[in-house]
């Protein structure tokens, strides 16, 4: 919203103050002011009122005229002018030699053989409207030679306030409310609005009016006749233009002017079309043509202004074409009303039509304003057109009144909230300057909130704090830390694990952390031959490609691998992100935080890569939990998993994740020559496992003894099966078993295992070790593992 300092100054005397500093203060205390501030008229000088004394056609040009102009300096000036609307006796804006218009300095200039000693100006050239149809026509009675700036408010400072920052301030949608803020900031009084006393017309007949729907809070109207003026006063037009509106005609301009001044939207109907004003909704949707000529689909939720049963306007949004003021309109009905804000907002959304009026109504306007607005409207109407006659009494239905908001608080409340000392006198002065009625006794305040702040904005004590502090100025706050006691802070286990895992994967394994989206991308998955698995969907995804929430992060990572093929011959990626794995009984999603890791390699075979991934996970488990992982073969659960070598990952016997190899169908589409393996760990399940600390084993002072065993292992026998053969045979001295060598022939698989024995109490004898080994060898034989 654009704001004019001249307009604001109508209501508060800001003379002698630094206007820019005030605007800056307004930005810090009230609402955000955009950076660009416009110094209107600053590039205009030397333009005077002049009268055209004679007009001759240029002999060689159809467009140009040769004028003699009286610019008030006692001589007639020769001017060549191309405007079509020149005529003798017309007063216009004249830029004398030496005048400044933008970057141009006016100098005598030859035009088609004749010298022009100055220039007659159009309004767009002076920057006071966008009318470039001809030179400005001045109808006001002003002596020639008068500097235009002396009679018209061309000089102005215009600034723009971000509408978003006014969302909660219905009182700031007009200059008067803004002026109240400036008055409070400057410490100067706010002048009352000039209004007309409407009670003078109480004896006249009332308008037939009835509110039939609670969505209309108040409806005030007045009928007037005999408006003769068609063009608005220049200053009014300038203000409208500076504030971003085009002048249309006097009546339309005046309703707009009033809206920009008071924030109260108004509408003028042809009285013939609103003989019985009814405000209501209809049972069925219908089509309605608004005054901009557009036919709109209006549904049964939309509040309408009607003439009995005929809709004439969409309440709070726009008038209808049929009830508009036309040529032969004699009597007008002025509407000034308040409607339910949420209803207007929703109608606006449904109609996809937001207007200056609806924008204001959405903010919960003060219903107390409707009759004042009419009184102000009439004041201005009469000021500029004294033939106007009021032909009805003020007709006012006030269906819904907001409660008066009274708040009580004490000084200690203010002290506690602010953390600084603001004295009672300052509190009172600040609140009063904003229109609050304040009573204070012994540090206890009773405050009545003004109606324009009481529609939703100020409802409780904390709101009062804002009023006091924002005018006090946050820059003036002394800042200090809190006096709260200190207690140790414990890190959330899942969060702690997360950070450790990231460090291990990045620092030890040189993996890259990537982020992705929480939904499955249909297109990308299709390119890799994957279907999006059914899962909960977004209701309002604008892009159908992203409507399904993912149930696994692996497809996402496979897409990421595809993106990065060519980045390096080997790389690994990981992410700790979310998936949805199902629904609860209460129809809530089961959201899981997962660690997903995918490794890609062109240089390693799939087995090596798969074991590298397995080892990585084992290190994570050992580092973070000091607990070993176990792995069990399991059935694939997704189409992207290779049917062979799919494993469940367990810790303490609890399933915490899975690992696998990409299905060749998909692998080929990513990279025919690369191995791709992946794992996914449930961070919650992982986090819930007991966090054992390191069990320190003192190094033995006695020599260890190794025993190597080379065995031939039949197909299908796993290391885990062999492990069972020595699990109970170690007699407390078998410390570990490592594979030191392994090889395969077509016929068998062979491994050399090193059994490591040591005791912390004595030197071991070969005999006791041999005895243990004999038992182990016997056990191995039982599962067909034999010595080579």
């Amino acid at each position: 919203m654009f704001l004019s300092m001249n307009w604001i100054s109508d209501f508060v005397d800001l003379s002698g103050l630094d206007k820019l500093a005030l605007i800056q203060q307004f930005s810090l205390s009230t609402a955000e002011v955009e950076n660009d501030i416009f110094f209107k008229g600053s590039d205009i000088s030397g333009i005077v009122v002049a009268e055209i004394k004679s007009v001759e056609n240029h002999p060689d040009s159809k467009k140009l005229h040769l004028l003699k102009v009286d610019a008030g300096d006692g001589v007639l000036t020769d001017v060549v002018c191309g405007a079509p609307n020149v005529r003798v006796g017309m007063k216009t804006a004249f830029a004398k030699v030496g005048a400044q218009i933008g970057d141009i300095t006016i100098a005598p200039r030859k035009l088609a053989g004749y010298t022009s000693n100055g220039m007659c100006c159009g309004e767009s050239e002076i920057g006071i409207s966008d009318d470039n149809s001809g030179i400005m026509e001045i109808t006001d009675d002003i002596p020639t030679g008068t500097d235009l700036k002396a009679v018209y408010e061309i000089d102005d400072i215009v600034f723009e306030v971000d509408n978003k920052s006014l969302t909660n301030r219905p009182d700031l949608w007009g200059h008067y409310g803004i002026a109240r803020e400036f008055a409070a900031l400057a410490g100067r009084p706010l002048k009352p609005l000039d209004t007309e006393d409407l009670s003078a017309y109480d004896a006249l007949k009332k308008v037939d009016l009835k509110i039939e729907d609670p969505l209309c809070y108040r409806y005030s109207c007045l009928q007037v006749e005999n408006i003769t003026r068609t063009v608005s006063p220049v200053n009014m037009r300038i203000r409208l233009y500076y504030c971003g509106m085009r002048a249309i005609n006097f009546l339309a301009d005046l309703t707009n002017y009033l809206m920009l001044e008071m924030g109260q939207p108004m509408h003028a109907f042809d009285s013939r079309k609103v003989e019985k004003i009814r405000i209501k909704r209809f049972d069925k949707p219908f089509e309605f043509q608004t005054l901009d000529g557009v036919k709109r689909h209006v549904d049964e939720n939309t509040l309408m202004i009607c003439n009995d049963n005929t809709p004439v306007a969409i309440a709070g949004i726009m008038g209808g074409l049929d009830s508009e003021i036309v040529e032969d309109t004699t009597t007008l009905t002025l509407e000034s009303a308040t409607f339910d804000a949420a209803s207007i907002r929703k109608s606006t959304v449904r109609l996809a039509h937001r207007t200056d009026a609806s924008m204001r109504y959405e903010k919960s306007l003060d219903p107390e304003m409707t009759d004042v607005a009419i009184a102000r409207f009439l004041n201005l109407l009469k000021k500029y057109d004294n033939a106007v006659q009021v032909v009805s009494a003020l007709t006012d239905e006030y269906a819904f009144r907001y409660d008066t908001v009274e708040l009580n608080f004490d000084k200690s409340f203010v002290d506690r909230y602010t953390g600084i000392e603001i004295d009672n006198a300052t509190i009172i002065k600040t609140l009063e300057s904003l229109g609050f009625a304040v009573k204070e006794e012994n540090g206890v305040f009773d405050v009545v909130v003004p109606s324009w702040r009481a529609t939703k904005d100020v409802t409780m004590k904390a709101d009062i704090i804002e009023e006091i502090t924002r005018i006090y100025g946050y820059d003036n706050f002394a800042v200090h830390t809190t006096r709260s006691p200190l207690y140790p802070v414990r890190m959330d286990e899942v969060k702690r694990n997360e950070e450790k895992i990231k460090d291990i994967l990045v620092k030890r394994y040189s993996l890259h952390e990537l982020h992705s989206y929480v939904w499955a991308y249909n297109d990308e998955l299709k390119n890799l031959g994957m279907e999006v698995e059914d899962n909960i969907k977004l209701l309002n995804a604008t892009n159908p490609n992203i409507e399904t929430i993912r149930n696994s992060m692996i497809p996402t990572q496979l897409c990421q691998v595809k993106t990065n093929v060519g980045y390096a011959p080997d790389f690994g990626i990981f992410e700790i992100g979310r998936v949805v794995t199902g629904m609860t009984e209460n129809n809530l999603v089961v959201e899981k935080k997962k660690l997903a890791v995918t490794l890609y390699s062109k240089t390693q075979d799939v087995k090596t890569l798969y074991f590298a991934l397995r080892d990585m996970l084992a290190v994570i488990a050992d580092d973070v939990k000091h607990t070993p992982l176990t792995f069990a073969a399991s059935e694939p659960q997704h189409a992207f998993e290779h049917p062979v070598n799919r494993n469940t990952i367990l810790m303490n016997g609890v399933e915490i994740g899975m690992m696998g190899i990409v299905h060749p169908e998909i692998g080929r589409k990513i990279d025919k020559k690369a191995a791709i393996v992946f794992a996914e760990i449930d961070m919650q399940a992982f986090g819930e496992q007991e966090n054992t600390s390191i069990l320190y084993a003192e190094p033995s002072k006695f020599p260890p003894m190794d025993y190597d065993l080379s065995v031939v292992i039949p197909k299908g026998v796993l290391f885990a099966d062999m492990q069972a053969c020595w699990a109970d045979e170690g007699a407390g001295i078998l410390r570990g078993v490592r594979i030191v060598d392994s090889y395969d022939t077509d016929l068998f698989h062979s491994e050399t295992m090193r059994f490591e024995f040591s005791s912390s109490e004595r030197t071991l004898s070969s005999a006791e070790v041999q005895e243990i080994m004999n038992r182990i060898i016997e056990n191995l034989k039982a599962i067909q593992v034999v010595l080579r």
């Binding site: 709260s484 006691p485 980045y567």
Partner: protein
């Protein structure tokens, strides 16, 4: 006696021909071993008189000592020669060849998030984790955004078919955190928590807009938490984040979950407040919304607003990462591109 000098000459001659330790050891065994030539000399002493035995034995022992000393000298000589050869064999490396610095990387959000978390942890804040999919209650109702509140229009929220939604702001965690720690307030333990998280807005993406982004929210609740405290914490945090003394300013801002609410600006990092294109010539950058927690939000979290006050703030982690690393296109963060993202190896 002649045999002794013969043997000595023979030993000397052989010793000079020795070139490595293996041969030397063989020589040592040949002469000095139990069955060695020198030891063998003693076996021939039976024929000698006791007097002769004495003299002969002494000579043999002398030879023995001599040979052992010579072997030791030879060992040292060979060892030195070996080291010399090793030195000679060492090539001059080209240390100017490019270093291989390939290693893993963190997501830039992780780096920025860790820095922020560290600052708050050092000031006694807990770090809270929260789901990404939340209920309407958590995201709106509980934080003073009832149905039909205009603030709901400001958030283009992704709804799920079951009525839940992708959280549009980290404030969705406020209620749960207040409830989690609220009971400790009466024991004098303040609520001090930060909660970073991923948020979602249903909007079209471009270089400056993402539908998926990270925020970090923080709050503190205790008996006398004031606006003055809020400004202090904001200034302290931002000075730590940017590693310099930042100037901050507060403007009134409207957010339903705070009252009073503020927009916090910091003086532009690029121009230092002089005005430049980055700050649209204002000298200030709008950085984080903050305010005093709305009494309704406290009440909904089971905390009596008459007794306790608190502040809350939000910080756009994604935005902060863009500023910190001068990332021009916000979409880079979720691009999955290693060309872009592998650069963030470490930042501490």
């Amino acid at each position: 006696m002649d045999k002794i000098s013969e043997l000595r000459a023979e030993f000397e001659q052989k010793l000079t021909q020795i070139a490595d330790l293996v041969d030397l050891d063989r020589l040592r065994v040949d002469y000095l071993g139990k069955k060695g030539s020198i030891t063998a000399l003693l076996k021939n002493m039976k024929a000698l008189s006791n007097e002769e035995k004495k003299t002969f034995g002494a000579e043999v022992n002398k030879l023995k000592g001599y040979a052992a000393k010579r072997v030791d000298e030879k060992i040292e000589e060979l060892r030195k020669a070996e080291v010399e050869r090793e030195i000679a064999a060492m090539p001059q490396f080209d240390i100017t060849a490019p270093a291989n610095t390939a290693r893993g990387s963190y997501h830039p959000i992780t780096l920025v998030q860790r820095q922020c978390e560290a600052i708050f942890k050092s000031m006694g804040f807990t770090v809270e984790d929260y789901p990404e999919i939340v209920t309407d209650y958590e995201c709106f109702e509980a934080v003073n955004i009832p149905k039909h509140h205009p603030a709901r229009d400001m958030q283009d929220t992704y709804y799920l078919t079951n009525g839940q939604l992708l959280k549009s702001h980290t404030s969705a965690a406020q209620n749960a955190i207040l409830k989690k720690y609220g009971s400790r307030l009466q024991n004098g333990v303040p609520i001090k928590a930060i909660f970073p998280g991923r948020c979602f807005r249903n909007e079209a993406t471009d270089a400056n807009h993402e539908n998926t982004f990270f925020q970090m929210e923080g709050m503190m609740v205790d008996k006398d938490i004031s606006i003055s405290n809020l400004i202090f914490f904001m200034k302290t945090m931002l000075s730590e984040v940017f590693q310099r003394d930042v100037k901050v300013r507060l403007r009134p801002g409207f957010f339903p979950f705070v009252e009073p609410g503020f927009e916090l600006d910091i003086n532009c990092l690029i121009c230092g407040g002089e005005g430049c294109p980055s700050c649209k010539h204002s000298g200030w950058l709008e950085l984080c919304p903050c305010g005093m927690i709305h009494p309704n939000v406290l009440r909904e979290g089971g905390i009596d607003p008459e007794t306790y006050t608190g502040f809350a703030f939000g910080l756009g982690l994604t935005r902060l990462a863009m500023m910190k690393y001068k990332v021009k296109d916000i979409r880079d963060f979720n691009s999955g591109s290693l060309k872009a993202l592998s650069q963030f190896t470490d930042d501490e």
